[in-house]
């Protein structure tokens, strides 16, 4: 299973800060498509991180991994 973390407006839109996808292996693109199919989200331009490192759309996420979606940041 794949753990999905959501922050800021993504968290508010989905209404959850964490989701679980029952899958062994997906690309980041696959996860984006999975979310877009279920929620009112546009993720094509949103950054992602796999296990706390920035990732690419073609990065592979394995069962047990944590994928986080990172909207444009505004800290500091």
């Amino acid at each position: 299973m794949i753990n999905v973390l959501l922050f800021a407006h993504l968290r508010e839109t989905v209404g959850e800060e964490k989701l679980v996808i029952e899958a062994e292996k997906m690309s980041v693109s696959d996860v984006k498509a999975w979310l877009e199919a279920r929620y009112q989200l546009e993720l094509s331009t949103v950054m992602s991180a796999v296990n706390e490192e920035f990732a690419m759309d073609h990065t592979i996420v394995q069962s047990g991994d944590v994928i986080a979606f990172i909207p444009p940041i505004s800290g500091g």
């Binding site: 950054m47 444009p72 800290g75």
Partner: protein
């Protein structure tokens, strides 16, 4: 010794961060204190809310430290970023840098805040009198690739 990089939901104490970089070889310590200001582009902020992805934020602070050490090996860095609800003049972030000489302490400190705004997963929600909004580069349309995300220029 307390960790030099922290995400905190408690009000920040500047001196707690500064103390982490004190050294017998430091002749200069620079501290950056990011505070909540009332007016941004003429619009009045009532309060702010910060959210972080703490585990990754700490990793990114450590990456910033590695980058800083490549440029300025003698500089020492400590950063604490606040999360939760903040009022006007509350402290959002404290960055302390020590160095034997002052020029580097200024440069490395400014480097750190610039990089925080580029790569550390923290988000700010503005609360105005007439609504709220998660702040970010609303025009950003290129996902993160090899380099850093585009720099925020709003402050």
């Amino acid at each position: 010794m307390t960790a030099r990089f922290e995400i905190s939901s408690e009000p920040l104490v500047v001196d707690d961060v500064t103390q982490k970089v004190v050294s017998r070889n430091a002749g200069a310590i620079t501290v950056f204190i990011g505070t909540v200001r009332e007016l941004t582009k003429g619009k009045k902020t009532v309060s702010l809310e910060y959210e972080a992805y703490p585990a990754m934020a700490i990793k990114m602070f450590e990456q910033i430290e590695r980058e800083m050490h490549e440029k300025w090996p003698e500089a020492q860095l400590a950063i604490t970023h606040r999360v939760g609800k903040l009022d006007i003049t509350d402290i959002a972030v404290v960055i302390a840098v020590s160095s034997p000489h002052r020029k580097i302490a200024y440069e490395a400190n400014e480097f750190a805040i610039d990089r925080i705004k580029q790569i550390v997963p923290i988000w700010k929600k503005e609360h105005w009198e007439d609504g709220t909004e998660w702040i970010g580069d609303q025009l950003e349309n290129v996902p993160y690739r090899a380099g850093a995300p585009k720099e925020e220029l709003d402050d």
